[in-house]
């Protein structure tokens, strides 16, 4: 299972191996994230959406040592806990943005700061998004104020294999290693459809068509399987392994099931082709991103266990996005699938909760009876699953990492503000306390910083 380690010729010492694909402790560019110590806290009297489907009125949640200690109604608050009045407020798990380009497509946008599309060849599986992340991107702090505690930062979609993703804790940091979610599995970004064929077709080279896209995908998987075979042969016979190849290493990691597939793919028919391609080469697609036509094959995606990360409002920017509907996520949900509301945008990424609200209201308008307790999964538990972190974040259950948001109102409403946000039980945002609102280095001393963002 730990093919990354084998490929790299590394030992298989694993840090706290939970989940399918934790990274070896001596993996390169290892996380240096440190949970901040914080006194235990209790939020009392809030409406709590736990991310498991439960919707608790007048609930209490206890947090200790960075973990959720207890959640429920009528729980007594032990001595020594900071007591937070939750009456009239809502509590949810910290939001998880399953499709972000923060740090790799930063503000301000300059010709020099667009670091998310390598795009110089159809296959750039060798690049790692973490090597582009600028921790001083002011957008991280804005997402924090929107309740986002974990982000999947992806390379762009201009080519077939955009590179490796990185999963970040949304904490102020100077290095990307300080933000890396410890032991989060890696992902690879793949893109169907218009983007790769337009990018390379315009340069007079392959892929220029959708069939060209698939042909190059298949060629890459054939090479990756061959690479994996040669390494395995060398390992079993004691021969010389092939020279390490970063591109093939990422793809072989997918074939081994260690690296998750995040596939930008809009059209239903293309998703069906990609599912079959996965069967041909023996890998699973974890999540279709954007996936604006997912509702057309909702039962298939539910059966295949593939998550759908999408928007509510975005449509029509491209031909392949023409059939987007607001009810996409609720229809995936109704079919028993894994629906996710994502941002792909630094403005929208500050209000994932509202985008989920648009989808929820549209779903209800279409007659789908979905409660807030279920819909909150679209921005918490389900993206946690897509990131391979379902056993650690995304729900408020005893033992889970204590990522929480205290909302001023129903979080699906425009009127809801994230009053306070915690990551691993430590406060990272407080609307009423400037100590938690510090902007990035970039904005220090810049003009026009006198108003709150």
């Amino acid at each position: 299972m730990k093919r990354i380690g084998k490929l790299a010729g590394l030992t298989l010492a694993l840090a706290l191996a939970v989940g399918a694909a934790a990274q070896p402790a001596d993996a390169p560019f290892a996380s240096t994230y440190q949970r901040r110590e914080a006194p235990p806290l209790a939020i009392v009297g809030a409406r709590i959406l736990t991310g498991t489907g439960a919707d608790l009125a007048d609930g209490t949640i206890l947090v200790r040592d960075g973990r959720v200690e207890a959640v429920g109604q009528g729980i007594a608050v032990p001595d020594g806990y900071e007591r937070i009045d939750g009456r009239g407020r809502w509590v949810t798990p910290g939001l998880i943005d399953a499709h972000s380009h923060l740090g790799v497509s930063s503000s301000p946008q300059t010709p020099l700061s667009g670091d998310h599309n390598e795009g110089t060849a159809p296959n750039t599986a060798e690049v790692w998004a973490e090597h582009s992340v600028w921790p001083q991107d002011p957008q991280f702090r804005l997402a924090r104020a929107g309740g986002v505690t974990t982000l999947l930062v992806l390379p762009g979609s201009s080519n077939l294999f955009g590179g490796r993703s990185v999963t970040l804790r949304n904490v102020p940091a100077v290095t990307v290693q300080e933000m890396k979610f410890p032991d989060a599995p890696y992902g690879v970004k793949m893109a169907c459809g218009e983007n790769p064929k337009r990018t390379f077709g315009a340069r007079g080279r392959s892929p220029a068509t959708r069939m060209g896209n698939v042909a190059l995908f298949r060629r890459a998987w054939i090479e990756a399987a061959d690479y994996a075979r040669r390494i395995e042969r060398a390992r079993s016979s004691g021969g010389e392994p092939p020279r390490r190849d970063l591109q093939l290493e990422t793809l072989a990691g997918v074939l081994d099931g260690d690296i998750l597939v995040h596939n930008h793919c809009y059209r239903a028919d293309e998703m069906a082709v990609m599912i079959d391609m996965g069967r041909e080469f023996g890998f699973r697609i974890g999540t279709f991103h954007h996936a604006t036509e997912a509702y057309k094959i909702a039962p298939v995606l539910a059966r295949e266990g593939i998550c759908v990360a999408t928007w509510a409002s975005s449509w029509g920017s491209k031909m392949e996005a023409l059939d987007a509907i607001e009810e996409n996520a609720p229809m995936i949900h109704a079919a028993g699938g894994c629906a996710i509301i994502h941002s792909d945008d630094a403005t929208l990424g500050q209000r994932l909760n509202q985008e989920a609200g648009i989808a929820l209201a549209a779903g209800r308008g279409a007659g789908l009876a979905i409660g807030e307790g279920e819909a909150i999964k679209w921005i918490t538990a389900n993206p946690a699953r897509a990131l391979g972190l379902a056993d650690r974040v995304g729900t408020l259950e005893p033992g889970r990492m204590a990522d929480l948001v205290l909302w001023s109102a129903n979080p699906f409403s425009v009127h809801a503000m994230a009053e306070r946000v915690w990551i691993d039980g430590a406060a990272v945002w407080d609307r009423a306390d400037s100590r938690y609102q510090a902007p990035s280095d970039f904005l220090l001393g810049q003009p026009g910083q006198g108003a709150p963002r």
Binding site: R303, R351, F442
Partner: protein, 430 residues
């Protein structure tokens, strides 16, 4: 019970929409009416609509012979007005053939009139309308690549999102980008853009006095084509405002000074740092259009972008209109207003910024923007807060005609919805 009443209301509206779309006399009763006019908000009142216009509004409106629509205590607002959109001009952003917002034709910049080539059958129209938008300012943009050096994008047109004709009023503003974008079009420097503009306006004034001489070839050479010069005459005569995109505080000051010195009327658009010079904008009596959720320091001219912008400008006395999130995403206009309210703007001001304020900014307030006698009957009945993600329209009227509550998107939804609904007989997936 309430749900059943709502259903009856919707069914009756659907029946109206299915029939011939003809303005009739009707009374919307039992409504909470946000008039956006002098009457303010009427907690429980009625609106009488006759011949497509509002005949009366108030707590007591007698209309015994009018068909009665019971709003069930719901909120009724004026139809929303989307500013700075491509509605009617665009289908798919990445498909050039389906995008009429910009031209590369030499000699047609200021003369480009978005009021021509409007497509009332655009798929975007019902989608925007289903979010309560009944009118829009179809606004030209700049083409990329060749022709990018043009200073003026063209003339915006006011359009109606239901019934014919689509064109409501031509030439409601002349679109001009300054700041970073304008500098780029003027060869790379802000100073060049402003200098070039002054030279052009001098040409236009000269041309306006000496058309006959121009046609005989007896004037000096002008920078622009005859069509462009002609199009700018209403600007120098103060019959058409310049819609000037600027963001940086200093650029806003430059635009205000330019307007004052050249004696032209302007509307400021974008104004990310408007809050920093709010008093100066207010003193100049210049209105602004902004997108309240734009808080990213996305460029060096928007380092001071903040969610507080709308509130601070409004507090300073500036007339503020809101914009949506562009073309296909215009339906998010009302959520943008809701976010400004969440950031501290009064709810009535948030609603005004998407109704009466844009009507005033573009000189349309004699016809739309509020629920007052004599105005065209653009009305929306909402099942919740119009500015909230959780509220949605339950009925929409334009010029007194009930609009279909359908779009291509609802048709796609309804085609695929049965496959995800639990089957009553077996409960298994189809």
């Amino acid at each position: 019970m309430i749900a059943r009443l709502a259903l009856m209301l919707l069914l009756s509206l659907a029946a109206m929409a299915a029939g011939p779309a003809r303005a009739e006399t009707f009374l919307i009763a039992n409504a909470r009416i946000a008039t956006m006019g002098r009457a303010g908000t009427i907690e429980r009142g009625s609106i009488l609509v006759r011949d497509g216009r509002i005949a009366a509004v108030g707590a007591d409106v007698a209309a015994p012979d009018a068909r009665r629509i019971d709003a069930g205590g719901r909120i009724v607002t004026p139809g929303l007005i989307a500013s700075g959109t491509g509605l009617g001009l665009i289908e798919v952003r990445s498909v050039d053939a389906a995008n009429d917002r910009a031209t590369r034709l030499p000699g047609i910049s200021a003369a480009f009139d978005a009021g021509y080539g409007l497509n009332p059958d655009s798929l975007l129209v019902p989608v925007a309308r289903l979010s309560g938008i009944t009118r829009a300012i179809a606004t030209p943009t700049y083409a990329e690549g060749t022709g990018a050096e043009r200073l003026f994008a063209g003339q915006a047109a006011a359009v109606t999102l239901g019934g014919q004709p689509m064109l409501m009023r031509r030439g409601v503003a002349m679109v001009l980008a300054l700041g970073e974008d304008g500098a780029e079009r003027a060869g790379g420097a802000r100073g060049a853009a402003l200098t070039s503009l002054r030279a052009i306006l001098a040409d236009v004034r000269d041309f306006a006095r000496r058309r006959a001489a121009y046609d005989r070839g007896e004037t000096r050479d002008y920078l622009l084509s005859r069509a462009d010069l002609e199009a700018l005459v209403p600007v120098v005569e103060r019959r058409m405002k310049l819609l000037v995109s600027v963001n940086r505080a200093s650029d806003i000051r430059d635009a205000l000074a330019f307007a004052r010195e050249e004696r032209v009327g302007i509307i400021l658009e974008g104004v990310a740092e408007g809050w920093r010079v709010a008093a100066e904008i207010a003193a100049a009596g210049v209105p602004v259009l902004l997108t309240p959720v734009d808080n990213l320091p996305a460029s060096f001219e928007a380092l001071g972008a903040t969610l507080d912008n709308a509130r601070l400008l409004q507090r300073a006395g500036v007339l503020v209109g809101f914009q949506g999130n562009g073309n296909h995403r215009e339906r998010e206009l009302r959520y943008n207003a809701g976010n400004a309210v969440a950031a501290g703007l009064a709810w009535e001001q948030g609603l005004a910024a998407v109704t009466i304020n844009p009507a005033r900014i573009f000189g349309l307030d004699d016809r739309v923007g509020s629920i007052e006698p004599g105005k065209e009957a653009d009305l929306v009945i909402w099942n919740g807060d119009p500015l909230d993600t959780l509220g949605r329209p339950s009925a929409i009227f334009i010029r007194g005609e009930a609009q279909p509550m359908r779009s291509r998107q609802t048709e796609l939804r309804d085609r695929y919805l049965p496959a995800v609904l639990p089957s009553p007989s077996q409960g298994a997936e189809p």
